[in-house]
Amino acid sequence: MTFAVILVAIVVVSVLFHFLSPWQATPLASNWGSIDTTITITLVITGIFFVAIVLFMAYCVYKYKALPGRRSEYRPENKKLEWWLIGITTVAICALLAPGLIVYNDFVHVPPNAVEFEAVGEQWRWSYRLPGKDKTFGRTSVTRIDENNAFGIDPSDAAGQDDVLIAGNQMHVLINQPTKALLRSKDVLHDFYVPQFRAKMDLIPGQVTYFWFTPTVLGTFDILCAEYCGIGHYNMRGQVVVDDASSYQKWLSSQVTFADVLSGGTVEGLVDQGQRLASSRGCIACHSIDGGPSLGPGWLDLYGRQETLSDGSQVKVDGPYLIESVVDPAAKIVAGYPPVMVAYEMSDEQLDSLVAYIASLSSDPENSTSIQPSTEE
């Protein structure tokens, strides 16, 4: 009796939980409402089977509980009943599969009017590329990636010259415009996942993957990495901003093309050199520059600050300390951060530019005047 009651209670509580749960799908912001519909169909059909089966089990446990003198029925099989059950199950399976495959057919067929953008993943950040006016992406190769060519675009490919490069973590897309995301990884597996869009797809180094969606709601949405990619996986943040036509054009017009980057040649000024270096060597994947959370200490207002190390001692953040932290990261670990950074090999010139860049991110450099001279060597 107790067991039967508990089985019934499990059914009742589970069904109530489903309807009362505050944890439901996050509001949809793309065309993939049809995917949500397939989830609903699946919930209804599997829910019916769940309720029916557990209640039948509760009935059996209650009705056929052992009694002295009771004997079970001896009927080892009932072919007819079994074929009926197989038939009903098959019908239910078809009712799940058919709508699923129809929607999946939409998912794999990108509409001809879709516009393309490319998302590039690396540990642990995102960057993006648009094909430019010719609507054709330039050829790329991981082997071409260097400080001046973060996307590895082939400079001899004319189609690449007008490619628009977005080095930051934030991408803009146009509302109600079918959009095809081409996905490329520089290092390991990643996955481009915006919960509000429903769709997601892995990035694989060595090949280009894709999926498509039509954003339907204006706003800013988080891009999460959904394929485990190492210790910074949980913090591989990006953002996609869904714009209307005018704000999209405004944003687009302020972006640089590959040709701009090439003609820019060598960057003037230590700070700008440092900024480029921080981007190309991936520093900003783990060191936020806007005060946001990150795997390592953020660089905003870092320079000149007093930091507590994991052994309890204090250190003032200055040039020599920062340089040591790049070339021998394990030497001093700031308390609260994991000792996960690998050592980087950089020239003295590069190190100086990086320090200058980090110092430029401190809003109140006067505070650090007392140690300023040590950075000027």
Partner: protein, 582 residues
């Protein structure tokens, strides 16, 4: 059955001395207990690791665990539970103990190889545990060990940990192969007089088919392990394309990361059934015995096991719907995956129809069996979400997946392990496990795991990605999700600690348990009919048992008792028409 005749006339060389009896033993029963004990001990390590992970998720920062340690715990928890606990205990533990006893053999066909199987398994466990003590610690690549990250610097243990993991897996596969050849050969060659294939208990069928799957699937993991070892140690590029590592070019070129995923899941999906099929078999026997009713649709149950086994080899890429493989594969794999639900559903129906019009004894093994049906049902139904390719797209890599696979291949099989240990412990020791402690342990484990994993599906609907060390500053995740995670952690810690009840019961009952006699559950299958309990070396005394009927004669009309042992002759109780094999 010429082989069995020879065995009967062979002299039994019973080993003497503690070492030969209990350490370097070739007796399948001792090897079974060695396998099970090792599996449970290493499983406890994995249980502790899961508790640490839950503390970090439920109460971030409450224990001193950085993301490196978190991912190492996650990886080791998964790998230990799937391979070193579940696979080892079902095949090496229950397979070893029950196959010879249930088919009426004196031992496995190759006892020496069987002994080697255990010792290789033990070495594989020690190599795995050694990785906790090497520089950089164990691998944190996730139990799927996907390259390239498994061997690049952004992943914990990418230098030493991953090597020890791969070497340990290779040794484990050698162990599983030696054991597996034994189980298959013993089932095919060493059955006693009258024990036709269709008179075997479903336990034997489940383990037999699972072992065939293991022998066919593990080689895919073996070769991918060897290839990754070569990539890591001598710089080949089987799985490694042109790639960067923190801004520098790596010296790899032309390999395919997705090739590894295909190889891994060609092993990995059958692996699910390597664990599930023995559980199906064992639970079928528990339900029939404790409901005192013949298993419903025996032949259908056998064909369901066989067809699930065959189908399990053509569904692997449903783990890869968003992996970037050719998207058109999705149509094929969604179809095969949902087809496999039909024989699986049939098994559930037949378990229920075995209860129907039965005479149900709610013993501890039966409680675990019924709990298994509920848990497996939830896990199976949520599998229909993830198997249906387009439904999987929003849910893959979220907590829905974590909840699903823990229900279906974590909790459900473990409930069968507990039920089966309660059921066969009397045969192994001659004593009953304590009933009260057993029931307490059952209720905490069953209701606790349901409370952990049922709500967890909804975090997946919400879109919370799995394998995240922390969830700070993701605005789409409401505050309340953290409360749910804290709740889940509290329940998980309670369930984890309550497993001490089980361990205590095992130890206490070994000395103080009520004597069980030879057949405490009044069961029909051969292992309950041994001349001694626990069975001695050679199992059957002077002559092998002779089988006249199937293993499910419960409630036979006209019989004096409500069960008719398999050795009862047709003259005493007529063999029913249900036993098709004359």
């Amino acid at each position: 059955m010429a082989y069995a005749d020879d065995v009967e006339n062979e002299e039994l060389h019973e080993p003497t001395g503690f070492i030969w009896k209990y350490v370097w033993s070739q007796d399948h029963k001792v090897i079974a207990i060695q396998y099970s004990t090792t599996a449970i001990l290493v499983g406890l390590v994995a249980l502790v690791l899961s508790g640490m992970m839950r503390m970090q998720i439920g109460f971030p920062g409450s224990i001193d665990m950085d993301s490196t340690a978190y991912y190492q715990a996650m990886t080791m928890h998964g790998m230990i539970m799937v391979i070193y606990l579940l696979t080892a205990i079902f095949l090496g533990g229950f397979g070893n103990y029950l196959i010879p006893l249930m088919v009426g053999a004196r031992d496995m066909v190759f006892p020496f190889v069987n002994m080697l199987s255990f010792w290789f398994y033990l070495v594989s466990v020690l190599v795995l545990l050694a990785s906790f003590f090497v520089p950089g610690g164990p691998t944190g690549a996730g139990w799927t060990l996907y390259p390239p990250q498994a061997i690049t610097a952004g992943t914990p243990g990418s230098e030493w940990g991953i090597i020890l993991m791969l070497v340990s897996l290779i040794i484990f596969i050698i162990a599983a192969t030696m054991g597996g050849l034994n189980y298959v050969t013993t089932v095919l060659q060493a059955r006693t007089h009258g024990m036709t294939m269709f008179r075997m208990p479903l336990t034997v069928w489940g383990i037999f088919v699972a072992t065939i799957l293991a022998l066919l699937a593990f080689p895919a993991l073996f070769v991918s392990g060897v290839m990754m070892l070569l990539d890591q140690t001598i710089g080949t590029s089987f799985f490694m394309p042109d790639m960067m590592q923190f801004g520098s070019q790596l010296d790899y070129s032309g390999g395919s990361p997705i090739l590894f995923q295909h190889l891994f899941w060609f092993f990995g999906h059958p692996e699910v059934y390597i664990v599930a099929l023995p559980a199906f078999g064992l639970v079928s026997d528990l339900i029939s015995i404790h409901a005192r009713r013949s298993i419903f649709g025996y032949r259908m149950m056998v064909w369901a096991i066989v067809s699930i086994g065959v189908l399990s080899f053509v569904v692997w890429a449903h783990h890869m719907y968003v992996s970037g493989m050719n998207p058109y594969f999705g149509f094929f794999f969604a179809t095969t995956t949902l087809v496999i639900a039909v024989p699986t559903a049939l098994k559930v129906y037949n378990w229920l129809l075995t209860l129907w019009r039965g005479n149900i004894h709610l013993t501890v093994p039966m409680l675990y069996s019924l709990a298994f049906i509920v848990t497996f049902l939830v896990g199976g139904l949520t599998g229909l979400f993830l198997g249906n390719v387009v439904v999987d797209i929003p849910l893959s890599d979220t907590y829905f997946v974590v909840a699903h696979f823990h229900m279906v291949m974590g909790v459900a099989p473990i409930l069968v392990v507990f039920g089966s240990i309660y059921h066969w412990y009397p045969k192994m020791t001659g004593r009953m496990l304590h009933d009260g402690i057993g029931k307490l342990h059952f209720w905490i484990t069953f209701l606790g795991t349901y409370l952990i994993y049922f709500p967890m599906h909804y975090l997946g609907f919400l879109g919370m990605p799995r394998r995240y060390y922390a969830y700070e500053d993701y605005p789409f995740i409401p505050e309340s999700a953290q409360s749910l995670n804290a709740f889940i952690t509290v329940v998980a810690i309670v369930v984890g600690i309550s497993q001490l009840l089980f361990l205590f019961n095992l130890a206490y009952s070994y000395f103080k348990g009520a004597p069980s006699g030879g057949n405490p559950w009044r069961a029909t299958s051969l292992e309950w009919l041994t001349p001694e309990t626990p069975p001695k070396h050679g199992n059957w005394g002077t002559s092998l048992p002779v089988v006249h009927r199937w293993a499910y004669d419960y409630g036979v009309p006209g019989a004096e008792l409500d069960y008719v042992p398999q050795t009862t002759s047709p003259e005493e109780v007529p063999v029913h028409e249900s036993d098709h094999d004359e």
